[in-house]
C-alpha cells in the first residue's frame, strides 16, 4: 500500500500552521489598526459644506478672532455657531454678488437657516464644556488642530477616549498661558516642563485623580 503521507508532509503541516497563526495575528493587528485609524474616524476629511467657508482665509489671513463667530466659547459648554447675521455683517458690504455666497444671502432673504455639516463629533455618553477648557489654558488647536491653515475645515483628532484621558492625566503638558489659547500654531515651549505645573496651579486645575473621575465627562 502506498504511504498516506509523503516525506515532506510534516514540513508542509508545520509551514501551514505557521502561516495560519502568523496570518491570524497579522489579521488582528491590521483590523485593530484600521479600526483605530484616523481614516476610519474621518480625520483630515473635510465634509461638503453649503458654502465653502475657509478658516485659513478668514482667520489665518484676515485675522478674524475665533470669538467673533464662536461667541459663547468662553462662557458656555457650546462654542456656538455663527447665525447668518454674523456672515452678513461683512458680506452685505463685500463680495455682495459672489455666487459662492448665494446660500448665505438666500438664508437671510428667506429666513431659512444654513445647514452646516458637523465636522467634530463628540462621542456618545460624553459631555464636553468649551468654556472650561478655554479658560483653563487649553487652546483651540489642542483639539481642533491648525484650523487657521485649513482651507476647508476637517477633523484634526479622532476624539477617542485615549486622547482626552492622556491630557486629563497630565494637563501640565498642554496647558498654555491665556494669550496663547487662540494661537493655532502653538507648540509646547522649551520650558513647558517647569511652566506647565505653574500654570496648572495658577488655573486651579484639579489633580489627575479628580480629573479622571468618570463623572467629569460622563453622566
Amino acid at each position: 500500500m502506498r504511504q498516506l503521507f509523503a516525506p515532506g508532509a510534516d514540513a508542509i503541516l508545520r509551514l501551514a500552521l505557521l502561516v495560519v497563526s502568523v496570518g491570524a495575528l497579522v489579521f488582528l493587528v491590521v483590523v485593530g489598526a484600521v479600526a483605530n485609524s484616523d481614516y476610519v474616524y474621518g480625520v483630515g476629511v473635510a465634509p461638503k459644506q453649503p458654502v465653502p467657508f475657509s478658516h485659513k482665509h478668514h482667520s489665518g489671513e484676515l485675522g478674524l478672532d475665533c470669538r467673533y463667530c464662536h461667541t459663547s466659547v468662553t462662557h458656555l459648554a457650546n462654542a456656538g455657531m455663527p447665525p447668518t447675521y454674523t456672515c452678513m455683517t461683512c458680506h452685505s458690504q463685500i463680495w455682495t454678488g459672489a455666487p459662492m455666497l448665494a446660500p448665505v444671502r438666500d438664508s437671510l432673504a428667506n429666513n431659512q437657516p444654513l445647514q452646516w455639516s458637523r465636522v467634530n463629533h463628540i462621542p456618545e455618553y460624553v459631555y464636553f464644556n468649551h468654556a472650561l477648557h478655554v479658560t483653563k489654558g487649553i487652546g483651540c488647536s489642542s483639539c481642533h488642530g491648525a484650523i487657521t491653515s485649513m482651507q476647508m475645515t476637517a477633523r484634526a483628532k479622532s476624539f477617542q477616549m485615549q486622547f482626552c484621558i492622556t491630557c486629563h492625566r497630565n494637563p501640565a503638558a498642554n496647558v498654555r498661558t491665556p494669550d496663547q489659547v487662540w494661537n493655532m500654531n502653538w507648540t509646547p515651549p522649551a520650558d513647558q516642563a517647569t511652566k506647565g505645573p505653574e500654570l496648572v496651579a495658577q488655573y486651579h486645575i484639579r489633580n489627575a485623580a479628580q480629573l479622571t473621575d468618570c463623572s467629569i465627562c460622563h453622566r
Partner: protein, 956 residues
C-alpha cells in the same frame, strides 16, 4: 436531563414533577417564566453563533454623515444654544393655579420647577404640575380642527361661524349656550360677563367632575353666601380634619402642605407637636399623616362634626359610638386648648352638613379670619349641567359651545347628557384631546396647553397668576378666550391682546415686566371676605346607619380623567395602595371578610340600577360598609393610552350626591384580575426602616459615632454631596417621583412590565403603616419614606460590578457609567436598598418625536441592558461645578438643588455639601433625629433620614 415519561397519546413529555416546578416558577416569578421555554441544542448553537458573529456590531457608532449644525438666521438675545431659560408661569388643576417656573432649553420646555415668588405655592409643586410638561408634548393630543370627525382647519371653522354669528348678534344670543369647564381665569370670566351683557339671551353653564358645590352649600348655610376656604397655617397649633383632604391632591395641596410643614417645624423647634386629628371613611394622605385617626362611616362623620360644634357652642354632647366618642374627646381637647389658633377642615367630598358644621366650628373657636380665610368662589359658576340637559331636551338650545370639558365621559351616566346633546343642531367642542365628547360634536377644536399660551388663573388663596407661553403652539391650538373671540367677534383678538386688555397693561410696561418675572399679577388678588354666621346649624337629615355606600374620590394620580393620557401619571404608584395604571374597588377588611372577597377578586358593583366591574383592593384602614372608587378611568377613546384602563366610576355617579351613593351591592363574578402594584417590589431585608421620635424621649438618631470597618477610608477631597430627607414632613405626595422622572428621562414601562417588577423609577416612596392592633381598632399614622440611591461611602454595589461600571468619584457620588455597563445586574443583587433599576427592553426607544423633544439633553437616555439609578442629579452638580471652575468662585450653598428637592411642597429634602459645616444639609445631619437606613450594614450612606415625630408616651 429531567426524567421523561411516555404519555397516554404516545408522545414524550415532562415528568409530572417537572411540571410542578414550572408552575411554581410561573406563579412566584412571573418575569422568569420565559426562561422555562429553554431552546433546544441546535437552536441554542444557532443563537450563540449569531450573537458571536454580530457581537462586534455593538461597538459600531451611528452613521453621523447626516449630522448637521443649524445655527439660527438671527440669534435671539439671551438665547445662546444649550442654555437654560426660565419663565414664571402657572399650571392648572381644576382651573386653579399653582405658581411654577418652567425651564426651557433651545426653545423647548423640559422641566417644571417651583416658584418661590408665588404667594400660594411658594416654591412647591405637585404631581400634576410636574407631569404637565409631558402633557404638552403628548402625541395623542388633538392636533387639528375637525368637522364631523374629518380634518378641517381654523379658516373653515371661522367661515362656517359667520352665518350663526350674524344670527346671534341679531337675536342677542338666543339659542346659543356655552358650557365652560373648570376655570378661574379672571380675564376669561370678564370675557364671559361682557358677552352676557352684550347678548342677554346667551345662557352659560359650567361643569366640572370635581364640584365644589358641597363647600359652597355649607358656607351658604353657615354664612349666607357661597365662599371659598383656604388656610393660614403659619399660626396653627392643632388641626382637626373631618372627612378632610388637607394634604391630599387638589388645588389646595401645594399651599396647604407647605403651610402645614412650616407650622409643624416651627412648633417642633419649640418642643411641641402640631398634632392632626382625622376622622375619615377612606384612608388618604391626610389620614395617613394624622396622629389621631378614626375610621368611620361618612354619616357618622357628620354626627361627630355636630357633636364638636355643640361642645363649642356650649350645647350638650350627643351619643356616639365608643371609638368616635373617644376621638371627639381628644379632638375637642386639642381645639379647646388652641382657640383661635386651630384649623378644622373638611374635604371637597364632605357632605354639605359637615361643611357647614366645620365652618361654624371654626367661627365659634375664633379661627375664622385668623387661620381660616374666605374669598368669594373663584371658579366660574354658571348654570348647572342638569339645567343644560333639560334645556337641550326641550330643544331650546340651537348651538352649544363646550370649552375645556368632556361631559360625555365625566357627567353622571343617569343624567343622559350624550342623548340630550344629539338634539342640539350645532355642537362645538374645544379641548386638549379628541375625546368622548369630540366624537359627538359637529366641530372639534384643539386647544392650547397652558405651557404654550398666554393666560391667567387664580390660586386657591385668590392670587392672580400669569400663564406665559414657553413654546409656540405645537398643534395649532387656540385658548378658550381666543375661541370665544372667534365665535363672537368680527376681528377675533388673540390671547395676549385679551390678557393685556383685561389687566390694563397698555400703559404700564413696568407692571407687565414685573408680572413676567414673578408670574404674579400684582393687585389682582381676590379680596378676603369677612364672614358672619347666620341662623343656627341646619338640623340633621341623614340616617346614621345606612346600608353599603359607594364613596367617590378623584384619583390621586389621574384626577378626574383629564390627565389620564399622561403616562407618567398612569405609572405613578397611588400614594397608599401603590397601584398603577388602573383603579380598584376599594373595601375594608371587615367587609371583605363578610362578603368572602379576596384581593384582586373581580366584583360587580351596583347602585341605582347601574353597575361597574373592577378588581377588589382591600385597604386596611377603610371604614366598614364603605366601597371607595376613584374617577378618571374607563376612558373610551380608542388609540389613546388611557383607553380600556380600569373601570368608569362615572357610570355609577349621581348628580345630586356626587361623592356618595347609598344602596350599593357588591358581588364577586368568579374571576380574578391582578392589579399592577409596586408595593412588594424592591423589598428590603431588615427592619426598623422608619424611626419614630416621641416628644421628650431620648434621641433615636445615630449620633456621631461610626461603626468600625475593614474597608480603607476614602478621603474626600473638596466637596462631599449628601442628602437628608425629613420623614416627619414627607406627606407621600409623589411630586419628587414625577420630578425625577421628568429631569432624568426615566422611561415608562407599562402595566405588564410593572407586573414583572420592572418599573424604572429611580426614586420610590415606601409607605409604612404604624399599625398597633388588629382590624377594627383605631388606625395609626402611616410614614412615607422616599428611597433614592443612598450613595453609600462604602457601596456594596461597587464590589459586585465585574467591569467597574459603578464606582465613586472624589465628591462622594456613586456613579453609574452606562457605556461600561454590560448588564450583569450583580450591583442590584448587592444593593441592600434595592434602588437600582435595569432596563430590560429598551423602554426609551421608539418614542414619538414630540416625546423626544421633552427629554433633558443633559442626561443620557439609557439603552437596553444597562443598569441605572439615582445620580443625585449629577448633571446639575456638573453644571454648578463648571460655573464655579470657570469663574473661580466656590459653589454657593443652595446653588445645586436636585429635582426631587425642588419639587417637594414641604421642603422635606435637603441637599448640599457635607464638607461645608454651615450648609443646610450639614445642619440637618446634626439633627438628633438623623439616622441611616439599614445603618447596621455600615454602608455609610450619604442619604440619611430624620425620624418621624410623634406625641410623647402617654400623651394623646
Amino acid at each position: 436531563m429531567p426524567p421523561l415519561s411516555l404519555g397516554a397519546d404516545g408522545k414524550w413529555r415532562d415528568a409530572p414533577g417537572e411540571r410542578g416546578v414550572a408552575a411554581a416558577i410561573r406563579e412566584r416569578f412571573p418575569a422568569a417564566a420565559d426562561l422555562l421555554h429553554t431552546p433546544d441544542r441546535r437552536r441554542f448553537m444557532r443563537l450563540m453563533a449569531a450573537s458571536l458573529a454580530l457581537s462586534g456590531l455593538a461597538g459600531c457608532d451611528d452613521d453621523d454623515t447626516h449630522d448637521v449644525i443649524v445655527p439660527p438666521v438671527a440669534q435671539p438675545v439671551g438665547a445662546a444654544p444649550a442654555t437654560v431659560l426660565t419663565y414664571a408661569s402657572a399650571t392648572l388643576l381644576d382651573g386653579f393655579a399653582n405658581g411654577i417656573v418652567v425651564r426651557t432649553r433651545d426653545g423647548r420646555p423640559i422641566k417644571i420647577e417651583g416658584n418661590p415668588a408665588h404667594p400660594w405655592s411658594r416654591g412647591g409643586t405637585d404631581v400634576f404640575g410636574q407631569a404637565s410638561v409631558l402633557g404638552l408634548y403628548d402625541p395623542f393630543r388633538s392636533q387639528a380642527v375637525q368637522f364631523r370627525t374629518r380634518d378641517s382647519d381654523w379658516t373653515a371653522f371661522r367661515a362656517a361661524m359667520l352665518g350663526p354669528q350674524a344670527q346671534w348678534r341679531a337675536s342677542r344670543g338666543a339659542g346659543l349656550a356655552l358650557l365652560i369647564g373648570p376655570t378661574t381665569s379672571p380675564s376669561l370670566l370678564a370675557h364671559i360677563t361682557a358677552l352676557r351683557e352684550a347678548w342677554p339671551e346667551l345662557r352659560v353653564f359650567s361643569h366640572g367632575a370635581v364640584p365644589r358645590d358641597a363647600l359652597h352649600d355649607g358656607t351658604r348655610q353657615a354664612f349666607g353666601r357661597p365662599l371659598e376656604t383656604h388656610w393660614n397655617l403659619a399660626g396653627a397649633r392643632s388641626i382637626v380634619c373631618l372627612d378632610g383632604d388637607l394634604l391630599d391632591a387638589g388645588a389646595h395641596q401645594v399651599g396647604a402642605a407647605r403651610g402645614w410643614s412650616e407650622a409643624r417645624r416651627g412648633l417642633a423647634a419649640g418642643g411641641s407637636l402640631l398634632e392632626m386629628h382625622a376622622a375619615f371613611a377612606v384612608p388618604n394622605l391626610t389620614s395617613a399623616k394624622a396622629e389621631h385617626g378614626v375610621s368611620v362611616q361618612p354619616a357618622l362623620i357628620e354626627a361627630m362634626a355636630r357633636s364638636l360644634l355643640s361642645r363649642a357652642t356650649a350645647g350638650g354632647q350627643s351619643d356616639l359610638p365608643e371609638l368616635a366618642a373617644a376621638w371627639c374627646n381628644a379632638a375637642w381637647r386639642a381645639l379647646d386648648g388652641t382657640r383661635g389658633a386651630s384649623v378644622v377642615q373638611a374635604g371637597l367630598h364632605a357632605s354639605p352638613g359637615v361643611q357647614e358644621a366645620v365652618q361654624r366650628l371654626n367661627a365659634a373657636l375664633g379661627n375664622t379670619g385668623r387661620t381660616v380665610l374666605h374669598t368669594a368662589p373663584l371658579q366660574f359658576q354658571g348654570e348647572s349641567l342638569t339645567s343644560l340637559v333639560d334645556a337641550m331636551q326641550r330643544g331650546v338650545v340651537t348651538a352649544l359651545l363646550m370649552i375645556g370639558t368632556n361631559p360625555c365621559y365625566d357627567s353622571p351616566a343617569g343624567l343622559g347628557f350624550t342623548a340630550a346633546l344629539a338634539r342640539v343642531p350645532l355642537k362645538i367642542h374645544a379641548s386638549l384631546y379628541d375625546d368622548e365628547t369630540a366624537v359627538n360634536a359637529d366641530w372639534h377644536l384643539p386647544m392650547t396647553h397652558p405651557l404654550e399660551a398666554w393666560g391667567d388663573a387664580r390660586a386657591l388663596d385668590g392670587t392672580a397668576s400669569l400663564i406665559q407661553p414657553t413654546i409656540a403652539p405645537l398643534y395649532g391650538g387656540r385658548s378658550a378666550g381666543e375661541i370665544l373671540a372667534i365665535l363672537t367677534e368680527p376681528e377675533p383678538r388673540d390671547a395676549l391682546t385679551l390678557l393685556q386688555a383685561h389687566w390694563d397693561f397698555a400703559g404700564a410696561p413696568e407692571r407687565w415686566h414685573g408680572a413676567l418675572l414673578t408670574g404674579v399679577l400684582e393687585g389682582g388678588t381676590a379680596p378676603l371676605v369677612p364672614v358672619q354666621q347666620t341662623g343656627g346649624m341646619t338640623p340633621a337629615t341623614t340616617a346614621l346607619e345606612p346600608g353599603m355606600q359607594i364613596v367617590f374620590r378623584p384619583d390621586p394620580t389621574v384626577w378626574d380623567g383629564t390627565v389620564a393620557d399622561n403616562a407618567w401619571l398612569q405609572e405613578l404608584p397611588k400614594p397608599l395602595s401603590k397601584i398603577v395604571w388602573e383603579n380598584a374597588v376599594q373595601i375594608g377588611p371587615a367587609l371583605a371578610a363578610r362578603l368572602k372577597l379576596a384581593q384582586f377578586d373581580v366584583v360587580s358593583l351596583s347602585a341605582g340600577g347601574r353597575s361597574a366591574v373592577g378588581s377588589v383592593w382591600i385597604a386596611p384602614d377603610q371604614a366598614d360598609h364603605v366601597v371607595a372608587v376613584t374617577l378618571g378611568y374607563g376612558k373610551r377613546t380608542e388609540g389613546q393610552i388611557s383607553a380600556g384602563l380600569g373601570f368608569d366610576a362615572y357610570t355609577l355617579r349621581a348628580e345630586q350626591t356626587p361623592w356618595l351613593l347609598d344602596g350599593a351591592t357588591l358581588h364577586a363574578i368568579g374571576k380574578k384580575h391582578v392589579l399592577a402594584c409596586t408595593d412588594d417590589h424592591a423589598r428590603m431585608d431588615g427592619d426598623g426602616f422608619v424611626r419614630v421620635q416621641r416628644t421628650g424621649a431620648p434621641p433615636v438618631g445615630d449620633g456621631d459615632g461610626e461603626l468600625p470597618t475593614l474597608y480603607p477610608h476614602k478621603e474626600s477631597d473638596g466637596r462631599a454631596w449628601g442628602m437628608v430627607i425629613d420623614l416627619d414632613t414627607c406627606i407621600g405626595c409623589n411630586a419628587c417621583v414625577t420630578a425625577c422622572q421628568s429631569e432624568n428621562n426615566i422611561a415608562v414601562v407599562g402595566r405588564d412590565e410593572v407586573l414583572n417588577g420592572r418599573e424604572m423609577h429611580w426614586l420610590r416612596v415606601d409607605a409604612y403603616p404604624a399599625r398597633a392592633g388588629a382590624t377594627g381598632t383605631a388606625p395609626t399614622s402611616t410614614a412615607f419614606m422616599p428611597v433614592p440611591c443612598m450613595h453609600c461611602e462604602q457601596a456594596p454595589c461597587e464590589v459586585g460590578c465585574p467591569v467597574e461600571a459603578t464606582l465613586h468619584d472624589h465628591e462622594g457620588l456613586n456613579l453609574m457609567v452606562y457605556n461600561r455597563c454590560i448588564g450583569t445586574r450583580a450591583c442590584s443583587g448587592y444593593c441592600p436598598y434595592k434602588v437600582r433599576r435595569f432596563n430590560y427592553a429598551d423602554y426609551s426607544a421608539g418614542a414619538a418625536p414630540t416625546i423626544v423633544e421633552q427629554r433633558n439633553p443633559d442626561v443620557t437616555v439609557r439603552a437596553r441592558g444597562v443598569m441605572e439609578k439615582c445620580t443625585y442629579c449629577v448633571q446639575r452638580i456638573a453644571q454648578a461645578r463648571a460655573i464655579s471652575d470657570r469663574d473661580y468662585v466656590p459653589i454657593a450653598e443652595g446653588a445645586v438643588r436636585t429635582a426631587c428637592q425642588g419639587a417637594c411642597p414641604t421642603d422635606a429634602i435637603t441637599f448640599g455639601d457635607l464638607a461645608q459645616p454651615d450648609s443646610a444639609v450639614s445642619a440637618a445631619r446634626r439633627d438628633p433625629r438623623r439616622y441611616a437606613l439599614l445603618g447596621e450594614l455600615n454602608t455609610r450612606p450619604r442619604t440619611t433620614y430624620l425620624a418621624v415625630r410623634a406625641p410623647g408616651v402617654g400623651e394623646g
